[in-house]
């Protein structure tokens, strides 16, 4: 009962194309906690701690995962991409810009996770139907928007990508 937390683990993570050292950590820390508290990557959000809401979504070896459900130390040999790795600050990606323009952002807490999920969706399916968008993004909960403007944003990106391919 009275044992203290051991904060002496050291390992490396590959995040957004860089190798980052994690020092003085406890082995029980989730990937979400380590990204936020050890590496200062605060864009991934924690909202349920159970993989239900998708706010903490990141890519691990190109797979969309809830970083709250991954032990950081188990991801040492994998390639991790967070919201900070999507586009440089001030130069948003097409998905990010569409979310702003379409009114898909209100409080914005779910937004980084949804941006990750939308990029992953459009990688798999360039022109999803509305129903495919709903199905594919249903692991990301938004409490503010009622989802209508988010669907609009995703559709805008799909259209503009098609048009730029055709052009």
């Amino acid at each position: 009962m009275s044992e203290s937390v051991t904060l002496n683990e050291q390992y490396e993570l590959h995040v957004n194309g860089e190798t980052r050292a994690v020092r003085d950590s406890w082995l029980g820390e989730s990937l979400l906690f380590v990204l936020r508290e050890r590496l200062g990557l605060l864009g991934s959000k924690g909202a349920c701690e159970q993989g239900e809401c998708g706010s903490c979504s990141v890519l691990v070896d190109d797979e969309l995962v809830c970083s709250c459900l991954v032990l950081a130390a188990s991801a040492v040999d994998q390639s991790i991409v967070t919201i900070e790795g999507v586009a440089p600050i001030g130069s948003p990606s097409d998905v990010q810009q569409a979310f702003v323009d379409a009114g898909a952002v209100q409080c914005g807490f779910c937004t980084p996770g949804l941006i990750m999920a939308t990029h992953a969706l459009l990688e798999r399916t360039a022109e999803p139907t509305e129903f495919e968008i709903r199905e594919e993004l249903s692991g990301n909960v938004c409490r503010c928007t009622g989802y209508g403007r988010i669907i609009e944003a995703v559709q805008r990106v799909a259209v503009s990508r098609r048009q730029s391919v055709q052009a």
């Binding site: 009962m1 937390v5 605060l42 209508g148």
Partner: protein, 765 residues
Amino acid sequence: MSSVTGERTRTGRLGDSISRPDGTPKVQGSYAFSSDLSAENCLWGATLRSPHPSARIVSIDVSGAYRIVGVEAVITAADVPGLPTYGLISSDQPVFATDVVRYVGEPIAAVAADHPETCRRALAAIVVVYEVLEPLIDPERAIDGSHPDIHPDGNVIRRQRIVCGDPDIVGEVVVEDTYEIGMQDQAFLGLEAALAMPDADGGGVSLHVATQWLHEDQKQIAACLGLPVSSVRLTLGGVGGAFGAREDISLQVHTCLLALRTGRPVRIHYSREESFLGHVHRHPVRIWMRHHATREGRLVKVEARMVFDGGAYASTSSAVLINGVTHAQGPYRCDNAVVDGYAVRTNNLPCGAMRGFGVVQACFAHEGQMDKLAAACELDPVEIRLMNAMVTGDKLITGQVIENVAPVARCIRETAALPLPDEPVGGHDHDPMRLPGGAGRTADTSHIVRGIGFAVAIKNLMYSETFDDYSTARCRLADGVVNLKFATSEVGQGFITIAGQIARSVLGFDNVVIDSIDTDVGSAGSTSASRQTWMSGGAVNAACIKVRDLLFEAVAVAHGVDPLSLAIDGGDIVDRNGVFRVSALDAALGLSFDETVEYHHKPTEDLDENGQGDCHTAFAFVAHRAVVDVDPELGLVKVIQIATAQDVGRALNPLSVIGQIEGGIAQGLGLAVMEEIIMSNGHVRNPSFTDYLLPTFLDMPSVTASLIEEPDPIAPLGAKGVGEPPTISSTPAIVAAIRDAIGKPLNRVPVRPTDIIGLSASPSI
């Protein structure tokens, strides 16, 4: 803003659907929510909570926590230097429990340590000995006196009757029923989080917190800390949604106490489970209603009895109750009423503000009644609502006359006229995924029944019963840049967007900067009650007009024109009666102005013992139509479409208005068919997103919305608040659609599969 000759359109003005100024940092993950804030040498804090709904505390031994390496402080009620209690309306809730605990989750102690895991272990090492008591669970027992008082203030928080017109009149047609509304959680995604930083001399504290009302927090925190208000400074941390749950104190006092005790910055982040226990919820309510009408369907009298379960502490229960009883008639003319309402104390979770604030509950009942009345009078649900729709000048059952624009009939007609979905059950492609049950593929298309339901609502805007919930705004103009300062909590609704639009429209400058949102300016009141567009919008507008008038005077002197004939046209200052035109930017060169304004709404009155009085400030209206598909064998529902026409006064930013409408409807849908905090003998059974179900992309249908724009002359910008109405009548519309589909009475929300199949005879869990 009226423009003069030669339309010079500039973007970012009132009426434009511009995007949020915080949009880019939010999509890039660089926006600082309050849970993203930290400081050098910062500690983590955590709270020990009661596992019992009712118990006497025999002893608390914190020594075990201190033996854990990394623990810096453990505090209990004995460490609260000021007022031991807090509360929005009455100060009845202890900072930490002392002799008794009154709900599961009540704070008993708090710790500060080097790591969240250390905190968890420290909490586990605190030994509290309880003598468990029989909890008061049934609100009726709070009223009938059969359970001893669970609080020195008694078990009835407030009772309010309304007697209007002839209480004994009887209609030719009479319908009655009892309705129940379950406890809903606001379920904002950004969990409670705060960072407290002690002053170097220990004489004060700065708190960064996600809240709806900085100045009310400041007042309550300072009282508990025993510090002058000026020694407690609050700054708004980025807010991840609110919906009423951030109006009350949760972690504010605890975080400050730990920071002052340790002399180090402290942050507390609630977990999702803790969040379910740590903030107030929507009141569960039981409502009996009896409606009297003429044979033709004209409302004659409304009778109602409403019992709001306030849980262990008062919070805003008394105001929620008043909203409930005063909205019992709905948006319908009615000359006679007898309404009796109670807000009571139990050992359930404390309840308070949530989007719709008492009106959600009243509307679910009165709309169920209107459908019953329609059936009894052999009228269409739309027809009976149109026949009874109130208009400007009508008197409410409180005697208050509706002075606002009241386009109730228009809301109803335009909603009814919106196109129905053209897709048949299962969609044109007969995809079983589109049926109720979705990916479970449990439904047989031929067994699915479709239903349509209708509901209408009236909602008060701003605070009531003599409360002067004013708002303050400061406008500074210097070097061609407009700086706006206010303490208005931006919780995601987009006030900072329209604040900029107001300033650009009034002053003609494109460059508007929103200053830090903190307590260095006067109160803005709460971001609640659909009030900030009206109140803080009114304050920003008035402050900008003051600066504009000073600028006009300077221009008039410089150019020899009449200041009263000047106007803003796009980015220019023009003479309405002449040819003079100068760009606002040039005119303001070298000038600076700084004006602060308080905006107050008209005074309101208390209700008398018969519930009479002009207690409300203003009203807005809305109608909803729902289309649902139901699997009657498995009791599953899929909402196919929501259509709505909403009285918005004037859409200052149509895109933002649509966002409020769609988001509000999603929460109404949640209450209709999904969301409920399930309590069992005072214990919460589902405090997680695994077990408390929120609408996802697959649950929420597309929304077809019509904005009714009839600018309200009473509103400073013609605009009414739009946040709450979408949440109010969407719920009863969906339930009416389910009733329509299956032909069964459903008087309880959320509607559960067992209610549809008919397995649950009793409305209680």
